[in-house]
Symmetry: C2
Subunit: 433 residues, 2 copies
Amino acid sequence: MTDSKEIQFSKKRTWSHDLPISYLMQQGVENPGVLSLAAGLVDQNSLPVSITKSAFDSLFSDPGSARESLQYGTTAGSLSLRKLLLTHLTNLEQKSAEELGMTVDNFIVTTGSQQYLSLLGEVLLDPGDICLVAAPTYFVFLGVLQGLGARIISVETDESGMRMDSLDATLESLEAQGQLNRVKLIYLVSDYENPSGISLSIERRKQVVEVAQKWSKQHRIHILEDLAYRELCYDGPVLPSIRSFDQTGETVILTQTFSKSFAPGLRVGFGVASKRVCEAISDKKGNDDFGSTNMSQHILANALRENLYYDHVEYLRSVYREKRDCMLDAAEMYFSKLKDVHWIHPGGGLYVWMTLPDSIETGFQSSLFQKAIHEDKVMYVPGELCYAYDHWLGCNEQPAIQKNHMRLTFGVQNTQGIQEGMKRLANAVKSYL
Amino acid sequence: MTDSKEIQFSKKRTWSHDLPISYLMQQGVENPGVLSLAAGLVDQNSLPVSITKSAFDSLFSDPGSARESLQYGTTAGSLSLRKLLLTHLTNLEQKSAEELGMTVDNFIVTTGSQQYLSLLGEVLLDPGDICLVAAPTYFVFLGVLQGLGARIISVETDESGMRMDSLDATLESLEAQGQLNRVKLIYLVSDYENPSGISLSIERRKQVVEVAQKWSKQHRIHILEDLAYRELCYDGPVLPSIRSFDQTGETVILTQTFSKSFAPGLRVGFGVASKRVCEAISDKKGNDDFGSTNMSQHILANALRENLYYDHVEYLRSVYREKRDCMLDAAEMYFSKLKDVHWIHPGGGLYVWMTLPDSIETGFQSSLFQKAIHEDKVMYVPGELCYAYDHWLGCNEQPAIQKNHMRLTFGVQNTQGIQEGMKRLANAVKSYL
C-alpha cells in the first residue's frame, strides 16, 4: 500500500496554471506597504451600506419574503429580479423590450458577470476553437479562454475600439487558412474597456453585428459583449449597446454586472442571449451550482424596485469622476514632462492606460516593475497581460504584444492615494528615461 | 448577409443535455396542483429568518465590517469564515486540526457544495476518465459527471453502503481491462445518502481509504466524500467522516454545505482537499467567478461565531425528525399491506427510499409516474435516475439499473402534506399490484 502517488489532473487543469491574477494578488499580499494602482477592487467608502441595509430590512420585514430569499432559487435566477433587469436594460437602451427582441426568458442571473463569461465559454468553445479579441483587452477573460484551451486571436484597435477593417481582414485570413469553422466568438468590452478605457464607437457597434453575420457562413459567430463598466460613465449618457443593433438577438450575447455599479460582495451579474444559448448556459449552470446566491438577488431586487439603486449610481458617478480627474491631473503633474509618455482620458470605467517609450518594458520580470514594487512601493498591472497572441496564426496577421503599457486604476485608492501613487510611479519611470 | 445560421456548441454542451432535474422541475411547474414528494427544497417554515437577521444586523452595525462584506472577497473565500469552518469541522470530527492534518489553507468556500463537486470534476476528469459511484447515488452528481464526458461505473451497495469487496473487484476488473489508469475518483455520500438514506458503516469508512490507496498504483485515486446531510442526524451523534481516517489528507476530498443545515439561499458550501488539489480548484474558480458571494459568507460567519448556527441545527433536527417519523408512519399505514413493497428507515437526511415489486417500473415514462402525477396529483423522483450504467464495461461487471424504486422526501412538505402525499402515492401504486 502506498500513499505517495502523483495526482493526474485533467488536461484543462494544466491550461489554467499560472494565471497572472494570482501573481498580482500574491504581490499585493507579500508587499503590504505597496500602494496599489493595480487592484481591481471598487471604491471602499462608497459601497452602499445604508441602501443594502434598507433593502435587507424591507426583505426581512415580511417572514414570507425573508424565507423565499433563504430557500433555493432557480438556476436562471429570481423571476422578480429578472423582470426588473429587463426594465433596467430597456431603460439603459431607451428602447422597448419588443424593439430589443427580448423577454425575461432571455436573462440568466450569475455570480457576477464573470460567471456568465465563463459559462458562455464552456458551452461554446472546444479546445482549438477561436475567439477574436481587441488588443488590448480584459486579461481575466484571456485567462478563461486559455483555461478552455481556446485559440485567442487579437485584432487591431485604435481610439474608437476594435477596428472593423482589421476584424474583417482577420476573418478573411482565417477563412483562407480553412480556420473559419473554428471561429466561435468575437469578445468586446464596448464601454471604457478594461484596460484601455476606450469605448467602441457607435458606428462600429452597428458594423460589428454586420461583420459577425457576414462571416457566419458555416455556423453562427457570436459577439460576446461585456458591459461591466457601462453605468460608470462620467462625461455623458449611457451608450447604446452592440446588442441594441442586433434586432433578433441571435448574434449578440450581452453581459452586465452590479459589481461595479453597486456592490461586488453581492456577486450579482447577468447575461442576455437567445433561447438556445440560454438553455445551454442553464444546463451547465444547473450542474455547476443550481443558481447563484438567492438572498443577494432579493436584496438587489429591492434596491432596484425602490430606486435606491439608481440614486446610488448617480452618487458613484460623482465619486469616480472626481477620482478619475484626480488621476488625470496627477498624470499631468508628474508625467507630462516625461518624453514619449502618454495616456488615454477615459470617459468612464476605472482605468487609465499609460504608454511608456517603446524601450521601457513594464512586465512582471522587468526592472521597472521590480523597482516600482520594491523601492517606490507602488504597483500597476503590466499592459502585456492584456494582449493575446496566437502563435499558430503567426506574426503578420495580428498586432504584436506591446510591452510598454501600464494599466492604472483609480477605483480603490482615495484621491490622496491616487496622487501619492502617481508620484511614486513617476519616480520609478523617470529612472529609465 | 445571413442571419439564420445554426449554433455550433462545444462538445461538452451536448453531454449536459436533457438532464432529469430539468424535467422534474418542469413537471412541478406544469402541474401546480401536484403534491411534491420529489422537490429537493428544504423545510420552508424552519428557515432561519431571525438568526439571519440578527447576523446581518451585527455585520451591518459596523460600517467597516458592512463594507468588507460588500467588497470583493477572495477566490478561496473569507479567511475569517474559513477559520470558523476549520473549528466547525474539528468539532464535528472530535479531532484536532493536527490530527486531521488540515489548516485553513485546505478549505475553499463555494456556491453550495454543488460548486465544489463540479469544480473538482473539472480539474480531475478528462472525457473518458472513470468515477466509481454507489448504486444508487445522488443523481445530480451523475449529471455533473455526464456533463464532463466521464465514464460512471456503479458499485454494489447494501444496507451498510458501498460494498468494499465489490469496489475492490471492480477496480481489479478495470485493471485487467487496462483501464485502471483512467480511474480518478470514488464518489461517496457517507451519511444518509441521497436517495437511499443509507450511511456507510464506520468500518467501511476506514476500508475505503485503504482500497483507494491500494489501487493508486499509477496515480492517486481520490475519494470524493459528499457530506451534505451530515448534520441532519436524528437518532444519534454526527458520524466521523471517511476523511478522518485519512491522516495525510492526500486521498480524501471532503465537501459539506450549509444549504441543508442552515439556508440554501445563502449558497455557502465548502470543501477540504490537499494543497495541490486546492490550487487546481482555486485556479478554475478564479476563472469561473473569483469567489462566491462575500456577503453570505460574512453572515454565516457571524451565525457560526455567535453559536446561533448550532442552536438552529438542534432545532432543525427536531423538525426533520418529526417529519421523518411522520413519513415512516404514513408508509406503515398506507403501504405495509401492499405485497413486496418495502422501504428504508433513514437515520438522518431528507429521503425515504421505497422499493416496489420488480414488475412495477417507476420512471418518467412509466404508467405509474404518469398516473401519479396526472390522476393522484403526487410526484416522486424515479429511482432509476440514481443509477449509473457504463455500457463499455458491460453488464456482468456492475449492478444493473433498478427501475422499481422511488425517492420520497419529507423535506419540503409539512406533516399534513406528507400524510396526504403518501396516501395519494399508495393509491397510485395499488392500481398496479
